[in-house]
């Protein structure tokens, strides 16, 4: 229970069905850390803020269910925040929400829940899980509300995790969920949705990394580098490759005849390569750490592949390499800004076949 509408409605729905439930809120990040990032209005409206815990506790009290806040701060820092920073410094663009799902929510949190006697965890994610008796596999589908669908962040869930997880909101649209919240009399029914990466205020991940280093007393190895075009002409300077992601246009501070975009970053040489929009197009990618969800690994498969959350999935053929955990994706049409560190998630319509990390 994050204190938001979605997980509160989940609690309310399950409680209404008469199921014995326990509410848990994960304390993932201490919002008093890195005070220089906190807006003057205070750290409200962000995950793990005291206001959100207050709301979650209020909902639990409203429903009359046992409720606890559990401390996952250390685990979150080790398994999400540090890898998130390392990925940026290595010139990739990580998805902390997927790391959190894979290593915290559907791993250590699931185990803690089981340890206190909860056979199933239910969360407010927008996705659907079903069991296919013919193949003996749990399958995952996009949520009914296409705009809210979160399957892109859930590609790492394995069969054993899916067996112990429920996403009751997958069958509903967001307006229906709000209606349910009002119907259940939940005190958070009108609370605005949260958007950003929970521990990074205002989406300023580079500012977060800099502040984290200051807090830890780490002097970054690289604080400047050159911006070049593909022919090697130096066009400008920058203050560290972690400020850039493939496809980015903002923050280059270069005047050119036509708009320039980041095409690649090279952490070893601290070079940022820029070019025209059409230079961002790629017909192939390689994904590793692939998890097959709704189907077992097979020779090759036609799929619609999403390469970032807001990407409209594009037709491609997914070929296994020497292992099913590493695949080559051949798009029918070249795709813009294939970004290392992001996920490539394979769909057959609504069905989530699987996904992996873009190399």
């Amino acid at each position: 229970m994050s204190g938001g509408v979605d997980s509160s409605v989940v609690a309310g729905m399950l409680h209404r069905r008469g199921l014995p439930i326990v509410g848990l809120t994960m304390q993932l990040w201490n919002q008093r850390r890195l005070p220089e990032l906190t807006p003057e209005s205070g750290p409200t409206g962000r995950c793990c803020s005291l206001d959100d815990v207050y709301d979650a506790r209020y909902v639990a009290q409203h429903l009359g269910i046992p409720y606890y806040v559990v401390n996952f701060e250390q685990r979150f820092e080790e398994q999400v925040v540090k890898p998130f920073i390392d990925e940026y410094l290595a010139g990739r663009t990580p998805i902390p929400c997927t790391l959190c799902n894979n290593f915290i929510k559907f791993d250590q949190f699931l185990d803690m829940a089981a340890g206190v006697g909860a056979e199933i965890i239910a969360t407010g994610h927008y996705a659907r899980i079903s069991y296919d008796g013919s193949t003996g596999r749990y399958q995952m589908r996009k949520s009914v509300d296409a705009a809210k669908d979160q399957t892109y962040f859930l590609f790492g869930l394995e069969q054993e995790q899916l067996a112990r997880t429920q996403f009751p909101l997958g069958e509903f649209t967001k307006p229906q969920v709000r209606e349910l919240a009002r119907d259940l009399g939940l005190p958070v029914a009108e609370k605005p949705d949260s958007q950003e990466i929970c521990f990074v205020p205002n989406g300023d991940y580079a500012g977060f990394i800099d502040a984290y280093f200051r807090e830890q007393g780490i002097t970054p190895e690289h604080t400047r580098g050159e911006i070049l075009d593909r022919e090697g002409h130096v066009l400008g300077e920058h203050s560290g490759v972690h400020h850039f992601t493939v496809g980015q246009r903002r923050g280059l501070r270069i005047s050119a005849a036509e708009p320039l975009y980041v095409i690649a970053t090279e952490p070893a040489s601290q070079r940022v390569i820029v070019g025209r929009n059409d230079e961002l197009l790629r017909a192939r990618l390689i994904a590793n750490g692939v998890n097959w969800i709704s189907i077992p690994p097979i020779a090759s498969v036609r799929a619609q592949v999403k390469i970032r959350n807001k990407h409209a999935a594009a037709w491609a053929t997914v070929y296994p390499t020497d292992t099913a955990r590493r695949v080559e994706v051949h798009f029918d049409e070249p795709q813009r800004a294939v970004t290392p560190g992001q996920g490539a998630v394979f769909y057959d319509g609504d069905l989530v076949l699987g996904g992996g990390w873009i190399e």
């Binding site: 304390q27 793990c48 815990v53 559990v70 401390n71 185990d111 206190v116």
Partner: protein
């Protein structure tokens, strides 16, 4: 579901005997103790009776008892009220690494004001070595603050060996006795301390009342400003019903202390022996020290204490782990880290603190519940492999 309460170091319920005097005090003793009229005089009489009863528990003169809101205020007044107004410059304070935040944080505040503070470490037994206090002394030291009994381990600190050191150096000695009063005999004259904090809700009085013993002649300035209450040491209309309750609790505690403490010690030993016999890879933190009779702190390797607290709570048993942070989540205990426990073991430790309501039957039920919960949690623990 029936509930069993094993968290008396966090707080205690108001005892029926205390409630018996508290209710009429709330209903009938409504006068302001500073007023001239008879309603005020009645309140004043009740207040002074409570002061005598409280002084009886501590073995001091009633005039040396200042009523205030609780343990935190008592610690703040003792530390800030003596150090801030001390004429010395520079100033230095000695305390220990295992104090309650109500002592540690006023010390941090003093540091921000330019006072130097030494946080004396403790050994793995959870007890401060008086020699370390002596070594920390400086010519500019003005205050030593050491707790009497630790809230998490129950370990009793050698105050009677520290007070001669303070005396010899001409330094004030404050003792946070919140976890000692009502559990072990306290004689502030014999201990030879200058300031001693107690809290009502740790000894079956309600929340919101506490007291500070201030030895006659101790230079203490108020830290809040208002009327001339409590001999100009603590302004604010006196909480007479609270004081009445504290006085009754103190009187009762003083009368029943020796019998109740041996009863609790036997229950505590039963609990420890039962757990150690039935739960593998468990042990008692600070076991070899002199401890308060009601407290035990047990580690269960390979699990999260937080999950065990939740599991036991869902079975009806109230116990605690670490210290609660502002969200209500549990932070690893600074006390367990200070006695040198590895982080994992500190996180895998639980405190059981017994009290009036507990009996053998409850303790046996707790042992069974702990055994069952630990086994269930360890089954899922990536770090625990049963030792053969």
């Amino acid at each position: 579901m029936q509930r069993f309460y094993f968290d008396h170091n966090a707080t205690t319920p108001v005892s029926p005997a205390v409630l018996e005097v508290l209710l009429p005090a709330l209903l009938e003793v409504y006068g302001n103790a500073s007023s001239i009229h008879q309603d005020g005089q009645l309140a004043k009489q009740k207040l002074e009776l409570a002061r005598r009863q409280t002084a009886g528990l501590l073995h001091c003169d009633p005039k040396e008892v200042v009523f205030l809101s609780g343990g935190t205020e008592a610690d703040n007044l003792a530390i800030l009220g003596t150090v801030r107004n001390h004429p010395a410059a520079p100033k230095h304070v000695i305390t220990t690494a295992i104090e309650h935040p109500a002592v540690l944080n006023p010390c941090r505040e003093l540091e921000r004001e330019g006072v130097e503070v030494t946080y004396v470490p403790v050994g793995s037994d959870g007890v401060v070595d008086p020699k370390d206090i002596r070594r920390a002394l400086r010519p500019e030291t003005v205050l030593i603050s050491v707790m009497h009994a630790n809230n998490e381990l129950g370990t009793i600190q050698p105050i009677e060996q520290i007070s001669p050191i303070a005396r010899e150096a001409g330094v004030l000695l404050h003792v946070d006795g919140v976890q000692a009063a009502g559990k072990i005999a306290v004689d502030v004259r014999e201990l030879d301390v200058d300031l001693y904090s107690i809290s009502g809700h740790k000894l079956y009085a309600p929340k919101g009342i506490g007291a500070l013993y201030v030895k006659k002649g101790t230079p203490l300035a108020p830290i809040q400003f208002g009327g001339k209450h409590e001999r100009e040491r603590r302004p604010g209309t006196e909480n007479v019903p609270g004081a009445v309750a504290l006085g009754a609790a103190a009187a009762r505690s003083a009368a029943e202390l020796s019998e109740e403490s041996s009863r609790l010690a036997a229950l505590r030993d039963r609990l420890e022996n039962g757990i150690l016999a039935r739960v593998p890879s468990s042990g008692v933190n600070g076991v070899h020290s002199h401890r308060t009779p009601n407290t035990t702190n047990v580690y269960f390797d390979g699990l999260e204490g937080e999950a065990l607290v939740i599991s036991l709570d869902l079975k009806g048993f109230a116990v605690s782990s670490g210290s609660a942070c502002s969200s209500g989540a549990v932070e690893p205990s600074h006390v367990l880290i200070a006695i040198g426990l590895p982080r994992e073991r500190a996180r895998a430790s639980l405190r059981f603190s017994l009290g009036q309501s507990n009996n053998e039957e409850q303790v046996d039920a707790l042992i069974s519940a702990v055994t069952e919960s630990v086994a269930q949690l360890r089954k899922l623990s990536p770090t625990y492999t049963a030792s053969v």
